[in-house]
Symmetry: C2
Subunit: 450 residues, 2 copies
């Protein structure tokens, strides 16, 4: 029994939906289907959800919104026409949208209601289309599916008691089609999930029905071991553990937001990333653990926009509580820190640059200087972090040696090395301008020369 | 104008004192001499200061102390006899000791008074001996020299106003001989310095008289680049900066306690480590800065007895203030931390093992677990730290690469790398049992193959 989630690009037009239907029909285990709203068909295209958001904004600011509503209807009409479905679905979208605009008095509830219309309508269309093809399918609203969330519009979190409700879906016959991206509060208010919302729904449903596999269909056939914008046609990752996935996703690496997978991870459901265009390709499996640890490094992630706060104070190492007070100032100013390498008389704290925007940087420096009597406080911008990830890393001797050689080969100076807490990753801080050459050199070292 | 300090082994017997006298006479710039108490003449020998401490303990516990006092007198008598000095000095030691035991009511003052007798007596002997040889010399008591300290027995710290007083010593003719290891409080109580006490006096006098050089005579001819107990006859370090010295001394590296040199460092007085046995050898210069940075690594230090506290909590990186609260628990329990490498969901804190003796380890674990809701808290013992130090390191690309290769070559797994705060050092955490093989491999890599 599998849960298959299809992303926005996988349901962007009628042709993609035909492909989705045949993917569903090709494997009788694909019983629970979660869908996004139609995404872009081409680069300049608009996503349906963005149109719905625009509709709400125009309504709220008293602008004319008829053109937008017409665009939305046209978009769905094109799909239903080509799939040979009745006009009722499109008529319902228009009527339901007008009803929401008219009846919803709470602005955030209106926004959430409109944002969810794309997913909801697409789920109805796919269900109808499957039935038309002779595959028994039922549209199930998240409320009926048992997806109960806390009342935080745009940031919903699933309530634990939902899972028992969701499990009852297994009693239904045929294919169950559920719109992604939203749930309902205990008082029945539609509330959307944060970013990666459809992935979250898929993950929740997989956890609830205790699926054997959660298939996440997207527009790439697998996860690459390195950013394909930096390395041309890099190797694909066949198997990734949850832990590796989470470490990699830290540095803006993955095809989806890793926290979306938490519900599935917690119930130990394996996840497979697959391409809608190439459903027979192996894809990338994300599993709890793997036996073959022969590959030291499975992925290289990189991210920019970091800054380092360097603090020097003579005899710092004698002063119990210095580190704590330094991090305390950061916490007090609501700045989360990434790493804090320390010397004998100095300590650096690595943070994301956007956490000290405007005059916050100066205020931070002054507080550190005055409250800790620091001799020196410097803030250095333009740092990038490069992360090597692999569960096989911990047992191998040569990872650090190969990695540092790769940086030296690429003429990249290492400003910071952070290794020692996570057994599955090693992190390097370098100049932002040198990320590409460093990543290419690391890729050569770990993926091409072995 | 130079300040020369002679350590305990340099003044252990009459032959060494003859050598010291000729070293002083060979350079008219050696005007201020600071001496320790006589140290061991052979492995099983007793240090004079240890005898004085024993004397005080016997007196305080009501035991017979006459044998100890006799041993002390004999030790000095042997020196004065051989140097042809009058018996008055030895008689004074015995009388003064008895007077202290009789008149000092405060036990800590008595301990300090007795502990200082070795240095004080030796300074009187050296001064008399120099005069006998025809070299004008004066014994100057630390009180008369202006060495004024705060009232912390065994842990005295110099008061800033002392320096102006000490500077007046430059007005004196001939050689000035000052006993090391103690000063006087503002109310006139003799108070000893912490460990490395004679080095501290030398450093203070050098700072006060604005010496051109502070010569620290000891029994090694220079500082080695690596522990000679691990590597046979390692290379000598010719020049070391203060910063390098301080980083190296962190890991139990140096021939003396680095903080003893702080007074000299603060007044920018260069320091030279020399051997009394081989005074013409170059020795090791410790300076504020050096121009030649071609040598990447000047020294390798290693120290054992570290433990790592590993804390894991899912979504830790989202929790602002987690690191601060973790370090806060340590500070609250009076545990100073050395390093804190962090991952995404985990953080390790490296501490010295002896900071969590007895049930403190369990209490610490429980507090972290309960107060921070950590998923996992593990304490791992048996860690050693290896430190590479060199001001030339920061500009070079290959240091990390060469170092990690050396560990791999020696089959030593790196548990932790801490680089990024200090520009002049790089630290590695490894298994305590692998220190020797790792250090030897690093020595080969950085000192033999270049």
């Amino acid at each position: 029994m599998k849960v298959a989630k299809f992303g926005g690009s996988s349901v962007a037009d009628h042709a993609m939906l035909e492909q989705v239907a045949s993917i569903i029909e090709s494997d009788p285990d694909r019983k629970f289907i979660v869908v996004s709203a139609p995404g872009k068909r081409y680069d300049e295209d608009e996503k349906v959800t963005d149109l719905f958001i625009q509709l709400g904004e125009q309504f709220n600011s008293g602008q004319d919104y008829e053109v937008t509503l017409f665009k939305i209807s046209q978009r769905f009409q094109a799909i239903t026409d080509q799939l040979g479905l009745s006009d009722d679905i499109v008529a319902r979208i228009e009527n339901e949208s007008r009803r929401l605009l008219r009846e919803t008095t709470n602005t955030t509830h209106l926004t959430d209601g409109l944002k969810a219309m794309g997913e909801d309508s697409l789920a109805r269309i796919l269900s109808a289309y499957l039935n038309k093809r002779g595959t028994q399918a039922t549209y199930v609203n998240p409320k009926d599916a048992g997806i109960i969330v806390n009342p935080e519009p745009g940031g919903a979190q699933i309530l634990e008691k939902s899972y028992d409700e969701i499990h009852k879906l297994t009693e239904r016959d045929g294919v169950v089609v559920i719109p992604g991206f939203f749930g309902y509060t205990e008082t029945g208010v539609l509330t959307t999930f944060p970013r990666g919302g459809s992935d979250i729904t898929g993950s929740i449903v997989a956890a609830g029905v205790q699926a054997d596999l959660y298939e996440n269909f997207t527009d790439v056939s697998s996860v690459y071991c390195v950013n394909p914008k930096i390395v041309n046609q890099p190797q694909e990752i066949h198997t990734l553990t949850y832990k590796e996935m989470r470490e990699l996703s830290y540095a803006g690496f993955t095809v989806f937001h890793d926290e979306a997978l938490i519900p599935a991870f917690q119930k130990n459901i394996p996840v497979c990333i697959k391409s809608t265009h190439d459903p027979d390709a192996e894809g990338t499996m994300i599993v709890a653990s793997k036996e073959d640890l022969s590959q030291q490094v499975v992925g290289i992630a990189s991210d920019e926009g970091f800054s380092s706060i360097y603090v020097r104070k003579y005899l710092m190492n004698r002063e119990i509580g210095f580190g704590q007070r330094l991090l305390g100032i950061l916490a007090d100013m609501d700045i989360s820190f990434e790493h804090a390498p320390s010397g004998i008389d100095d300590m650096s704290v690595i943070i994301r640059r956007d956490h000290i925007k405007g005059d916050k940087e100066e205020r931070l420096k002054n507080r550190i200087k005055n409250e800790l009597n620091a001799d020196t406080v410097d803030v250095i911008h333009g740092l990038a972090m490069i992360m090597l990830v692999g569960e096989g890393m911990s047992e191998r001797l040569h990872v650090a040696s190969k990695a540092t050689k790769a940086f030296a080969d690429a003429d990249v100076r290492i400003n910071m090395i952070n290794q020692g807490s996570s057994e599955v990753s090693m992190m390097f801080g370098i100049d932002e301008n040198k990320v590409d050459q460093a990543v290419r050199s690391l890729y050569r070292e770990f993926f091409l020369e072995s």
